[in-house]
């Protein structure tokens, strides 16, 4: 067995900032808008129709409802803009997901840590032809990465690719390696 130990330049490691990322489906923005609208409509209805016992307070009831409605509109607009900026990338050894408008975050999941993959979608997502890819790692703490805004075809292709990689990987954990 030949042992190699090639020196690496720490400044020339594969850079996360240079990873090519691809935008998610443009249908995610309207889908998010619908989901957020439904959520805020419910809250506005609650604020508008909640029975109040004190007449003086009840006279002011429409104003909180208007406030909640305005917050809802802002949330929908921000959600739309945020969804249009979401990107993801699949590199040889990891999966990248970038999201956020005011607070931007880039999540990276090394494929070596992947345990299993699920796809899921709610009725609104199905109406827009979108699917969520849910990735789980070891430890049983729930989903570690949820990739939203993939079309069904793209999600199936990525899932297939990841499963093929998992099958090629070591079947059992050994030593200090992850399970």
């Amino acid at each position: 067995m030949t042992f190699t130990n090639v020196s690496l330049d720490p400044q020339n490691l594969p850079a996360l900032a240079e990873a090519p990322l691809e935008p998610v489906s443009p249908r995610l923005a309207p889908c998010q808008a619908v989901l957020r609208s439904l959520h805020w409509l419910l809250l506005t209805a609650l604020a508008a129709f909640m029975p109040l016992m004190i007449a003086e307070i009840a006279a002011w009831q429409p104003w909180p409802a208007v406030g909640v409605g305005l917050l809802g509109v802002i949330s929908v607009v921000l959600g739309w803009l945020e969804a249009r900026r979401r990107t993801y990338g699949l590199r040889q050894h990891d999966l990248i997901y970038r999201r956020g408008l005011l607070v931007q975050s880039t999540q990276v999941l090394p494929l070596a840590r992947l345990q299993h993959i699920e796809t899921s979608s709610n009725p609104v997502e199905r109406a827009f032809g979108l699917v969520r890819l849910v990735c789980f790692t070891a430890g049983g703490r729930g989903a570690d990465m949820v990739l939203e805004g993939l079309t069904a075809d793209r999600a199936a292709a990525i899932r297939q690719h990841l499963l093929a990689r998992l099958e090629r990987a070591e079947p059992e954990p050994t030593g200090a390696d992850a399970p």
């Binding site: 690496l8 720490p10 490691l13 594969p14 850079a15 996360l16 900032a17 050894h93 990891d94 956020g100 005011l102 607070v103 931007q104 975050s105 880039t106 999540q107 990276v108 999941l109 090394p110 494929l111 070596a112 840590r113 790692t137 070891a138 430890g139 049983g140 703490r141 570690d144 990465m145 990689r165 998992l166 090629r168 990987a169 070591e170 059992e172 954990p173 050994t174 030593g175 200090a176 390696d177 992850a178 399970p179």
Partner: protein, 526 residues
């Protein structure tokens, strides 16, 4: 399937199922009752609910109800015992159990990450133990055999030893004690034995004091009522201090001393006779005054070692180590269930951490003397950007101002004089600034070869030390303010939860993220 197993499995033969000891029925009842009592004692005794129930139902009716419940519990325990069986098929443990729903569990040796043997005081006369195994799926996957013979538990432990369990055999040393199994080729070397002073200091420095205070808090109201009724009849005035302030101070001191004594007793109860044995790849700890416990840690499954010091612990120069594996639930609160080495001085903690990480596959050797990052004891911990301190100051100030407004405005409507308002206005920012500074000082990180150290805290501090290839995933986060200041927050997901490095210089954060990913992906390429 490998060679024939003394616990049922054999080459080509049928599985020979084993049952729990018949005494397990009684022990199940006892442990269930003890657990119920422990959980509900403060409520029943403290809030007076128990007395109210007795008064309302009557003693005879209550006894009758208790008897019915006892018969029901006995029947359920019998049924549980009847349905419970287990065997070893090669290096796979099979357990079948369930009252209404029959369930079968299979645990392969290569998936085992830790084994615990407990022996409560009421199990000792019967020679029985409670045997638990935890797989790589984490604490939620724990499977217990409640009430088997000790010899059988030791056989099970040998059967389920991971295949790589002989990675680092230790050399026999003079004075080494023989391990529990005579068939074991390795000898266990004591690495750390706790002394009386260390137990006392650990009791004082641990968080038990707060837990005990929380547990006893329901008793405050009945005690207050009792004092209110009884105090006038007792001649306290003869020996109580004249000044009310002094009396309050003496009272508080008495409470603190009582809590400290209880915390020391709790430490003594849990860690009496604590010994850490080094059996090569396996680390074994035994402890307990009445409730004996033996815990085995596989170094191959070790993910993060954490050095923990409470505020008082830092003053006393004591702390403890927590060894984290996969699937640690309950965060910091659940650490008592994990492999813990208590009552350590900093030097002992550093030496043990180095010992745990020696020979970690794919990583360099961890060098001792790296906890505190003091000059002369290793590389200094790098501080995060000072803008973090300003953000913390604002957060603390908002929190304190909100709290003060709530307390003064709603809960205790007080009319404060102008000097008092001035004092409050000056005191809150000062307190916020002190807290923010302490937290900023405590937050630090350092990369030591293939290891990363991350420290957090305010008064107490926790330092996580782990090989970089143990990273599970990471997240680089920037708010608009952070983007303007050129800083970023790095969240590292590890087996025991999240480690956060807030407000790093953006270049540092990106370089660290690239290095971590490179190390993790090279260690186990897909």
């Amino acid at each position: 399937m490998s060679e024939a197993s003394p616990l049922g499995g054999g080459q080509g033969g049928e599985l020979k199922w084993q049952r729990l000891s018949p005494w397990a029925v009684l022990l199940l009842l006892l442990s269930g009752s003890a657990s119920l009592l422990r959980q509900h004692m403060p409520l029943v005794l403290g809030a007076g609910a128990g007395l109210a129930l007795v008064e309302r139902l009557g003693l005879r009716e209550l006894a009758l109800g208790g008897a019915v419940l006892l018969i029901l519990a006995v029947l359920i325990s019998l049924l549980y015992y009847r349905r419970f069986r287990y065997c070893c098929d090669g290096d796979v443990l099979i357990v079948q159990k369930g009252l209404l729903e029959h369930r079968e569990f299979k645990v392969a040796a290569r998936h085992v990450q830790s084994i615990v043997i407990r022996q409560p005081v009421y199990m000792r006369p019967f020679g029985l133990v409670l045997w638990e195994v935890e797989t790589l799926a984490g604490e939620a996957s724990r499977i217990a055999l409640p009430g088997i013979r000790r010899e059988r538990a030791e056989v099970l432990e040998r059967e389920l030893r991971p295949p790589d369990g002989r990675r680092r055999p230790t050399k026999p040393r003079p004075g080494a004690t023989s391990e529990s199994s005579p068939a074991d080729e390795m000898q266990a070397v004591p690495r750390f034995v706790i002394g009386a002073k260390a137990i006392v200091l650990h009791g004082l420095a641990s968080r038990s004091i707060y837990l005990i205070a929380a547990m006893l808090s329901p008793l405050v109201r009945p005690l207050e009522r009792w004092l209110h009724d009884r105090l006038p009849q007792l001649d306290f005035e003869a020996w109580m201090p004249g000044s009310p302030l002094l009396a309050v101070a003496v009272g508080l001191l008495a409470v603190v001393i009582l809590l400290a004594l209880l915390a020391i007793l709790a430490a003594w109860w849990r860690f009496h006779g604590f010994v850490l044995l080094d059996a090569g790849e396996r680390q074994i700890q035994r402890s307990g005054l009445f409730h004996r416990q033996e815990q085995t840690l596989s170094l191959a499954r070790l993910q993060v070692v954490e050095w923990v010091q409470t505020g008082l612990g830092r003053l006393l120069g004591r702390g403890y180590l927590v060894c984290h594996q996969y699937g640690a639930l309950g965060g910091d609160a659940g650490e008592s269930r994990r492999f813990m080495v208590p009552g350590l001085s900093e030097a002992q903690g550093e030496a043990l951490t180095a010992h745990f990480w020696q020979g970690s596959a794919g990583s360099g050797y961890f060098k001792p003397g790296r906890f505190t990052g003091h000059a002369g004891s290793g590389q200094l911990l790098r501080r995060v950007d000072p803008s973090y301190r300003r953000v913390l100051f604002l957060r603390y100030l908002l929190l304190l101002a909100g709290g003060a407004a709530l307390v003064l405005g709603l809960l205790i409507p007080l009319e404060l004089s102008w000097p008092a308002w001035g004092g409050l206005a000056a005191g809150l920012p000062l307190l916020a600034a002190v807290l923010a500074h302490w937290r900023w000082i405590a937050t630090g990180w350092a990369q030591e070869g293939d290891f990363l150290r991350v420290r957090r805290g305010v008064v107490g501090q926790r330092t996580g030390i782990f090989p970089m290839h143990h990273l599970i995933s990471l997240r680089l986060q920037q708010s608009w303010l952070q983007r303007r200041r050129g800083v970023a927050t790095l969240h590292l997901e590890l087996a025991n939860g999240r480690q956060t490095l807030p407000y790093l210089k953006e270049d540092d954060a990106r370089h660290l993220a690239d290095t971590l990913l490179f190390t993790a992906e090279c260690a186990q390429p897909v």
